[in-house]
């Protein structure tokens, strides 16, 4: 099988507490993968290591055939690994459109090479904002957004770099039914239309089953089961 992301023997401890004990997993291009596990099983730590926010004590992470274990968060985003946060950290002094423009600025060079416009990047920004259902809030300060809108904004930020892999940390938790419906539709569309692979962390088995082709179960810092849906 062709592999987009692979993690091999990931170990991570915080002081005397071992959180991950040799996690090995892989994600194929365009593959929707779920990650399920009880609280404290190490899901967020694993996501932080895969996205570059934390470095593992042992083990390697490879992406597109390249070792990226020591690459920081921003460099991995530029490579095509985008992540969302369980608790969004919005920019207090920026509007929704400005927040999206920040994420698009990184991709602007690539778009220019492909013949797109660079100045202002209004086209892609407006398009992303409309796709994520934030068009009517585009001039509103990020600090004034509801939880649902903040998750939509996280989604827009993640999609801005046209990622090959989207890592979503509990993005559907504590959302209204309408917000959850919109975001699942968006995720399906990104997977179907753009071939974006995703690793979805969730506590919700029915949601994982409806969205993912493969579900990994993490318990006490190890992948204990793998289920093909």
């Amino acid at each position: 099988m062709n592999t987009l992301l692979s993690a091999d023997g990931i170990v991570k401890s915080f002081g005397p507490t071992r959180v991950l004990s040799g996690v090995t997993l892989s994600v194929a291009p365009g593959e929707p993968v779920g990650l399920f596990g009880p609280n404290g099983s190490g899901k967020t730590t694993l996501v932080n290591i895969l996205s570059g926010l934390l470095r593992p004590d042992a083990g390697t992470v490879r992406f597109d055939g390249e070792e990226i274990t020591r690459l920081p968060l921003d460099a991995r985003y530029r490579l095509g690994i985008a992540r969302t946060f369980q608790i969004p950290h919005p920019y207090p002094s920026l509007s929704v459109r400005e927040a999206v423009r920040v994420a698009l600025a990184v991709d602007a060079g690539k778009r220019k090479e492909e013949g797109g416009t660079r100045e202002g990047e209004e086209g892609p920004a407006e398009d992303l904002i409309a796709r994520t259902g934030l068009f009517n809030q585009r001039f509103v300060s990020c600090a004034q957004l509801s939880q649902g809108c903040l998750r939509r904004l996280e989604f827009a930020r993640g999609l801005a770099c046209r990622p090959k892999l989207l890592i979503l940390d509990e993005i559907f938790s504590a959302l209204s039914a309408a917000d959850e419906g919109d975001l699942t539709a968006l995720l399906r569309a990104a997977n179907r239309d753009e071939g974006t692979a995703f690793l979805l962390v969730s506590h919700n088995p029915p949601l994982l089953k409806s969205l993912c082709r493969r579900i990994l179960v993490l318990e006490e810092g190890r992948i204990v089961r793998e289920r093909i849906v």
Partner: protein, 355 residues
């Protein structure tokens, strides 16, 4: 994977659907202020007042340059006098000691200040919050102590240079008229403020505001934080260096005071009083406070006390500074007039076009 559900169009509401209103009154006040300052020398003021204004213009540009680093980019620096003094000393040494022509020396001094800023930015990049303040404070104080304690004999004439007395700047003119100094400093302030505002509204400025607001989200959006922190320090220091070189030309000498902690604190105070992250706020605060305290010919110890008192009062009662308080007031007044004003209030306080 199951079949994809159809994507639903977002619900339409009026909230936030219109771009933020650009206030025209701001431009009017600005034009009126510049007009008043342009015509002030025609009222035949005392040379002392012209000198106070000239120094005030240079200090205002310096305060705005602090705001680029400390306000817009959120890197609270307490050593901003370092690039200011570095440029002043570079100007003095390059003209008096190396015999460089003045324009070349000024250009080199500004570049050196930017390089010093980039160096500080590199050192402080892994740090956050109070640690940035402590590092910059320490670096500024080291430079100040070196300037105070280091004296040497000049080549021509064998005079003792350095120390408290400083180093003279070799100027190609003798006794510049107070009028020309006044207008040159005013022109510099306008140009520097315009440049800083343009930077604030550029893509780099937007990214710096993002870094200041939430570094982790900015990094997760692909922003190389360390590079942008270095950029903020380099740009802010270049403008501080330009103000420092201007100050050295105005007083004809670079002294250890140009590197003092008091000067760094003064810039931070002006920015806090005027409104951090606004550029215009620190300029107005620096002009008003400097003209008020210096114009009244108060002794330095009283001035320091008044600056500290002003800072305490502003931080306690008006944490957003003059500009922030004015915006809040405008939004409160606007809120009584109807729905549209209330809609603008939310955006205007924190959203686009805020600076």
């Amino acid at each position: 994977m199951r079949n994809a559900a159809p994507f639903r169009a977002p619900k339409v509401s009026l909230r936030g659907g219109t771009p933020p209103a650009r206030s025209t009154w701001r431009g009017g006040w600005l034009a009126a202020g510049i007009g008043l300052l342009l015509f002030f020398p025609l009222s035949s003021p005392d040379a002392f007042f012209l000198d106070v204004f000239t120094t005030g213009f240079l200090l205002a540009a310096f305060a705005a340059s602090w705001d680029v680093v400390g306000g817009v980019s959120g890197q609270t620096t307490l050593g901003h006098a370092l690039p200011f003094g570095t440029a002043a000393y570079a100007c003095a040494l390059l003209t008096s000691f190396a015999g460089w022509p003045l324009p070349l020396a000024v250009g080199a001094a500004v570049l050196l200040a930017a390089a010093v800023g980039a160096g500080i930015g590199t050192l402080s990049a892994p740090l956050a919050g109070p640690f940035v303040a402590l590092l910059t404070l320490a670096l500024g104080e080291i430079a100040h102590e070196v300037a105070v304690g280091h004296t040497f004999f000049s080549g021509p004439g064998g005079y003792a240079w350095g120390g408290e007395g400083g180093i003279p700047v070799a100027l190609p003119w003798r006794d510049a008229s107070p009028f020309s100094s006044y207008y040159a400093a005013l022109g510099f302030l306008c140009l520097a403020s315009f440049g800083m505002l343009r930077f604030l509204r550029s893509e780099a400025g937007l990214i710096l505001r993002a870094v200041a607001g939430s570094p982790i989200t900015a990094q997760a959006s692909g922003v190389p934080i360390a590079r942008f922190k270095r950029l903020a320090f380099a740009v802010g220091s270049a403008f501080a260096g330009a103000a420092g070189a201007g100050f050295a030309l105005h007083v004809g000498r670079a002294t250890a005071t140009d590197l003092s902690l008091e000067l760094s604190f003064q810039a931070a105070t002006f920015a806090a009083v005027g409104g951090r992250g606004t550029i215009v706020g620190p300029v107005v605060a620096a002009l008003v406070l400097h003209l008020l305290f210096q114009g009244l010919s108060l002794p330095p110890s009283v001035r320091v006390l008044l600056y500290a008192l002003t800072l305490l009062l502003v931080l306690r009662f008006f944490p957003g500074g003059v500009v922030g308080t004015a915006r809040d007031l405008a939004s409160r007044l606007g809120g009584k007039e109807g729905g549209r004003s209330r809609r603008i209030r939310g955006r205007y306080r924190n959203g686009e076009g805020a600076p």
